[in-house]
Amino acid sequence: MTTLADVLTVRGQFARSANFERDAESTESLDGYVVTARALDVVDRVSEAALGPAGGAWSITGPYGSGKSSLGLLLDAAFGPPGISRERALAKISEASPTAEEAVLQALSRHQARSHGFYRALVTADREPVARTVLRGLHRAVVRRHGKVPGSAEFSASSLLKLAQRRVNRAEDAVDPSVSELVDIARCMASQAPLLIVIDEFGKNLEAARDGESSDTYLLQRLAEAGQGTGLPISVVTLQHLSFEEYLADVDDRRRRDWAKVQGRFVDIAFTESAAQTRALIAQAFEAGDDIRPRIDAWAKSHAQALASAGIADLSDPVTIGSCWPLHPVSTLVLPELCNRFGQHERTLFSFLAGNESGTVATLAAGIEINAEGELPSIGPESVYDYFMGIDGAGASVVGRSARWTEIASRLRDANGLTDAEQRLAKSVALLNLVSASGAVRASASVLELVDPGSSEVLSGLEKRGLVTYRAFADEYRIWHGTDVNVAELTAAAHDRIADQPLHQVLGAVHALEPVVAARHSAQNETVRLFRRRFAHGDETVDPPAALDTVDGEVLLVTSTDGAIPTLSESALHSGTHAGNARGLEWSLRAKPIVVAVPDDVGELDRAAREVAALSDVLAAPQVEVDWVARREIGERLASARSQLEAAVTLAFSTASCRWKLLDGGAGVPLSPGRGSAPLSEASDLAYPRAPRVPNEMLSRSDLTSQGAKARRILLEAMIERSTEYRLGFTGYGPEVAMYEAGLKHAGLHRPSKAGGDPVFGKPRIRSNSKASEALRQTEQIRITPAWEAIEDAFEAAKNSRLNVRDLYVTLASPPYGVKAGIIPVIVTAALLARADRMAIYEHGTFQLGLSPELSERMVRNPEHFEIKHFANISGRRREALDVLADRFGIDAGLGGRRVGNVLAVTLYLAGRMRGLEQWTRRTSHLSADALAVRDALNEATEPDVLLFEFLPVALGYAPIAPGRQSAGTRQDSQRRDFEAFADGLARCIDELTSRCRSMIGELCDELLASAGERTRIAVSGPAAGLVDEVLDRDMRAFVLALSNDLYDDDHDWMASVATVVAKKAPTEWSDDDLASVQAELPRRLAAFNRLRALHAEHRAIGGTPFDALRLAVTHPSGSEAVRLVDVAQDEGELVSDAVAAMLESLAPKIGSPQRALHVVLADLGKRLLEQGDLIDIGPTQDSALRKAAGSG
């Protein structure tokens, strides 16, 4: 019996996974390997990059089994030394594309590497720090080339490499190599041959990083950049299953961002094959004997016709159909999708084709008989189903990976008593159900007819059993529960709705575009340049991103194909131009760059985009929202449509046929059609040639993190408050210190004014000492001078009119400087401090007393609220006047001890002296006429020069001091005398203003003492203290308490507190009215105090003699009341008492009773007292006080 196995060879290398360590030296490793289009693309890129000086970095992301490792081996062999491996590799490449082979050869010869090849560091990562992996790779590359690690004569990094290797291999406390060691080793290698580093399973490194293994995130990037110097190119390729982000999903934000940034500097390549490519792989796996070829051709032709008439355009080419025999065409159709969706891609595919477990094509072949004539046997979808379902416990057993698969599998399993034919057909239906998303490949009657001619009977049998249902809207038989929602109809309607929408709008709605980093430029300049992206139409007029926007430019992906590109808006074109571009004046706008990408074909993009849009629309339809089956189906279709769209976007905008241009006023500057972000790097080179390069990750960015913002605030505060201290007084290694080092110190902005002097801010300069060359190197690298000069120019222009700080920010953020928003405040502050004695700062138009930390905080947040004006040192008459003023006020030491004779310094001095002026002084008219006039002038002037040269002289009766040359001879003398008189007058007024409030209180004190008839405060407060307990009245008591208070150091404070108690307001807050009423009230209070004191003094003065005081109050019928105090000495008292007793005794018989006699006598005495008129009316308030004072009886 002849079986399929007899006429067919199945090649299987692809069926096992490649392994760097095992396969790199094997000459067979590439046998059976097929150079797919994706692989070719990578080969192309690596060789193209190797042609240039710099190398490159790629991260290849693809699922398990997509052939990434084999690609690594291919690169290894192709760029290796001459020999069989290289020959085979080149042959394979050339088979796929002769030009690609040509490029590899060119790259080899360009660097004289034909005879020895590149250094190839092929290495598979473990869960370990990247450094360890890389070291292993480098070591191996060296050994492969030289047989061992050569001595240092031949290989200068020899001992470095050996040592690092030894340290890493130590059984105990192994130490990983540092970044700089690895960079040094790599540099040494690159001085001999180009270096290609390929890391397989890079995901494991990332997992290690995720789990906290120490790792230097930037190692790979540094390695790739190490090639950009003097040596030969260094290229880095990493291979992993998921994107960096996905590995690091649950890592803290900072580390994830760091890695994302690293990945941003890699060119990302998605490594999956299209269905057609997969079919090509299938074809490569089979080799049929020559004898059977004609039969295959005939078989293929008839099937091709059948497929074509069934409307399956995907597979209608007899050659492909034939080369995939013994697979039935329907099997060939479904396999790519099946492997991608449910398996491990090519690995699964090849397991099925060539594996030696049961159910694979290779094992099945041995059991399928081949007749000499008639229809050729083939392996139909039912076998595919069996294999994938893992029947017999073998195969790829994917059940459980997909809900749909599970559902179908269990329905088939539960259906008992099916005939063979029914089983076969049901499995075919099942398989087609699994893969069908849309299109012609589905379980329709016509496709099933292809699988099993004459199957309609069987089909209706299955339908009757209820195992299979026909869904009319989809024209499809289904094993899985479908839905009654007519998805096709809904989708068609949705398509109709968006048919008229232009493509860029459709895309804009369904496909979010992440911003991209101009990777190469960013890495070279230590400054991340980010481009926003969107889809656009060629006839748009566009505005560049705003200067202070966080992105550095924009990419427009043009979806119209008539060749038109968007036009720059007028305002962008009028933003001005700058000179000094390294590439001449090719592009010199001051607006941020806009790059356009114009693909030559958007057919696929259009289809895919509209499909996604339509399906999203359908998914939101009300009837779909309530039908989970429909939702799931559409959801799946949408997912696959999205991935097609993804691919279509990549295809349209990443190929060489897409034209890239940098917009200018005309046809645009062509950019080299590039891969990844190369055109953006080129655009950034053109737009930002004068950008500083501040190597500080926290500062050199558009949006500071909250931690970064805090560190910068601390830095700015230190700049303002401790500008002359070494390192601004910083110690330690906080983030603000790192910012200081990178942004100020190494940039040469903060350095000694002269040798050995204190540091000051000033134009970028370096210290000259033994370390000069190192410092110079750093300063040159930071390249801050262009931005600094831009600030100086702006300051220069601010002599004539005020400069809004935001405008300065805009200038710095725009081309050609492109200074990152994080850095701008630091440099601007440095520049302001460098000229602190000349730059006036206005906030909301109001002149400010210099740069303070809090002002700086506001300026950082709202630069638009601030303006700057430059008061340069002046000359002539005004200069002379200024000198006189500065002299008179002793203003001489400015920053760094320079003599300051300028407007700003004098104004700031005056403003400083006026700052603490009391409210009273600000309002009072108790000032000399001159002082009043000076006070008005200071209040009214808003410009320093106007104040000094116009308002103040006029206030003091002098002519304004006009600008102009100094007069000569006697006129000069008289003028100088005028200036001196003016300065004296001004000084007198300032002194008067600052001391007037104090002297006013002094005057009050004098008045008080005079009213009290005393000469010293003690003479008042002492007696007052003795009275404190005698006074009950609230106000009087407070007054006496205040008088008695001896807490105060001097008369002024004492008087101020007394005055405060009287006025219920502090003197500094008084108005002149308050003063007047205090002046009136004070004598009254003192009079009362004096009387109190007198009474009290007599009371005490009598000494040992018994003493009594009486208060007599008499109320007149009119209601008025008079009071008389009577003090009675004991002997007087006795005398009167006797006389009165005698009088009462004699009157009593006449009047009636002694009691009655007493009353009448009292009334008479009272009348006498009233008539006598010397009763004191001491008023109701004092009344109560005296009641206590006198009320001992």
């Binding site: 709202n862 106000d1035 150091d1049 405060t1060 219920k1064 502090a1066 500094t1068």
Partner: protein, 283 residues
């Protein structure tokens, strides 16, 4: 060795803390007085503080004077403080106080009266700060406080005529009747408050206002006084005053011969218990 412990007494501009300062004037000679200046206190408060300062014969340290409300309003670009986002107290009071106190041991004297011993004042959680309550210890109650103020001849801050506590003129904890009081006593401050509510700082400089209204979130605007803007509140002035007057009457009837201040406090529902609202700001 000299005792390194600092003695500090915070002054809010209200009667209790002022009385405490006066009370401790002779008792704790090394006392340091401080006041957290938001730059947005009532003019009455500032005036009262200088009064107090003169009588104490010692300066009251003004904390935070460089970065008042206007500063933060600009730095936060018009973000309003509110009970939910009370950045005002945090950045203008608590942080400056803690920075000023530092890490040396300190004793903080808190003006909680004997008759409100269960009220919470701002009691720092910093471990180096010990709190003391002299009024509670010495049994000094409301009347005791008034006596201290009378004896010092300092009186009450004038705002007690229409408002029960110190604090920012626009404080969102004030009652509607107090807002009306502000509108009557300080129309210009009321205007400023209206503007601030709309994220505009009036007359920030000679160029005019600092306007952040464009940054305001569209949709419902946050209002300081529940349910209405300050502009709307002002139009209901009479209604609010009538209600307030009725509440005052009720209180007066309920208790004979109580001082105006007590009536005001009670009518405004400010009986000490719900005072937690602004313990740092109003003590």
């Amino acid at each position: 060795m000299a005792d390194q412990t600092r003695h500090i007494c915070g002054i809010s501009g209200g009667k209790d803390s002022s009385a405490l300062a006066l009370y401790l004037r002779d008792r704790v000679p090394e006392m340091e007085y401080f006041f957290c200046d938001t730059g947005a206190e009532l003019p009455e408060t500032y005036e009262f503080l200088t009064r107090l300062e003169v009588i104490l014969g010692k300066p009251i340290a003004r904390l935070n004077s460089e970065r008042g409300f206007d500063h933060w309003f600009e730095v936060f670009r018009g973000a309003l403080p509110s009970p939910q986002m009370r950045w005002c107290t945090k950045v203008m009071k608590i942080k400056p106080i803690e920075a000023w106190i530092g890490d040396e041991p300190a004793i903080s004297y808190v003006a909680i009266r004997a008759d409100e011993a269960n009220r919470k004042g701002y009691i720092s959680t910093k471990p180096n700060i010990e709190s003391r309550f002299p009024f509670v210890e010495d049994g000094i109650d409301h009347d005791g406080v008034m006596k201290i103020l009378d004896d010092a001849g300092i009186g009450l801050p004038d705002y007690y005529e229409w408002r029960t506590r110190s604090g920012c003129y626009f404080c969102f904890y004030q009652r509607k009747a107090e807002w009306v009081g502000l509108a009557e006593r300080h129309p210009e401050l009321y205007e400023r408050a209206i503007a601030i509510e709309q994220k505009v700082l009036l007359d920030a400089g000679v160029d005019g206002d600092a306007d952040f209204s464009e940054r305001a979130m569209t949709g419902r605007q946050y209002t300081w006084s529940g349910g209405e803007t300050l502009v709307q509140l002002r139009t209901r002035r009479q209604e609010i005053l009538d209600k307030h007057e009725a509440a005052m009457q009720r209180t007066r009837r309920a208790r004979d011969s109580v001082p105006v201040l007590a009536v005001l406090s009670e009518a405004l529902g400010d009986d000490g218990d719900d005072f937690d609202a602004c313990t740092v700001c109003a003590l």
